[in-house]
Amino acid sequence: MSSYDNAELLALWLEDNLTPEQRNIFEQRCVQDDDFAQQVEAASTIKLHADGYQDFDVPQWDRGKTFDCQERGSSQERANSQERVDSRNPFEYSARRQRWAWLPSVSFAMSALAIVLVLTGTQVSLTSGELRIRFGHEQSQLAMSKLIDSKLDTFKQNQQEAFSLYAQTLQQQQLESASQLTNYLLTSSRKERREDFAELIKFVNQQRSDDQLFYARQLNQLQQDVYLDANGIKVDGTQQ
């Protein structure tokens, strides 16, 4: 069975929106479902009646009431109304709207003027009671040279300050490095001298030791020479 319910199918049929598939289902349902067939028949009948309905002219009525009823419209009626009722009289509203009708055009004109002023680079200056309006982005030569001079002065001052600071810093750094170098040199020379002296003392001590050894040998030799006689014979007593 299809997923279309009877109300849906009937609605589609009434609006003549049935697809071929839906039309098949619709026709099958008309054959198989008596209730649905009767509903379709009723819809056709009512549609026929509605199409054949001959309407006649509206009886005379007070159309003007739709204008002047605005003032005396009952408030209770308004309160009970489900729709959103704007209590403003449209004519009153339009009159109010006309009163401010100039505002959008003035607003537009002002916006356009502002855009033109920005695009043309208009400059307004008030100097000692004199109003000047200048168009274009180019400034006068004098103003430009003044501006350049002032910029250059500022730049020069800044550069000088920077150079003096740099020189000062460099001098300080040089002093520091010189003192460091001096300290280093002093320290290293002291150390070297100490090492030289140590070497010297060592050498002297060695020399002295050699001298002592030499002198000891000399003395021994002398001793031997003293205790030997002229013939070279050893004196006994002395030998013992």
């Binding site: 009877n6 109300a7 819809a43 009646h49 159309r63 009970n80 449209p90």
Partner: protein, 182 residues
């Protein structure tokens, strides 16, 4: 020769031209009157409802934003005025309730000097609940789509479809009864 559009007439009416407003009113008074006639089943009530509708349209004319057709907007107001009319007349009756009090005023059938079928249909419609009656009215006489009906009446499309389906079953029975009585 050259008929002005609804939008042009509305614009002029908003500028204060009564003539434009009357032109707009004359263009739509007939469908609104007959809508009222079929919805109320009574000439006096139809005239009252029509006046109510046009007063409300006039008040809200400045809020019309050209979204959708003017006719659709007009009939939405007509629908709500009709609900209001029924509430005033029978405060306890719901939209889906069947009418309890038969219409005692001058029947519409007498005024509609048309075929007997018209009278039969209008008579049968008067016995439908308001919610079903408005869907039948807007679908068969107003020739609106279900989406438009849903927008105008504030119900969903599916509800509109099922209400029409339910209304058809009732109308069929009612018209059969009338036919037998006739």
């Amino acid at each position: 020769m050259f008929e002005k559009s609804d939008e042009q007439l509305i614009e002029k009416a908003l500028k204060g031209q009564k003539k434009a407003w009357f032109s707009l009113l004359k263009r739509y008074e007939k469908p609104v009157y007959h809508y009222g006639l079929r919805m109320t089943g009574n000439n006096a009530d139809a005239l009252d409802l029509m006046q109510d509708v046009f007063i409300s349209v006039f008040r809200n004319l400045s809020s019309y934003r050209n979204e959708g057709s003017f006719k659709g907007w007009l009939f939405r107001i007509a629908h709500y005025r009709c609900i209001e009319f029924y509430r005033r007349k029978r405060p306890q009756q719901g939209l889906d309730d069947a009418p309890e009090i038969p219409c005692t005023a001058q029947p519409a059938e007498q005024l509609i000097e048309n075929t007997q079928r018209n009278a039969q249909l209008v008579s049968a419609m008067q016995q439908l609940p308001l919610a079903q009656k408005s869907v039948v009215e807007l679908k068969f006489f107003g020739h609106f789509t279900f989406e438009e009906i849903a927008q105008q009446t504030g119900m969903s499309v599916n509800t509109a479809k099922s209400r029409l389906y339910g209304a058809l079953a009732k109308l069929k029975t009612l018209m059969e009864v009338d036919y037998v009585e006739l």
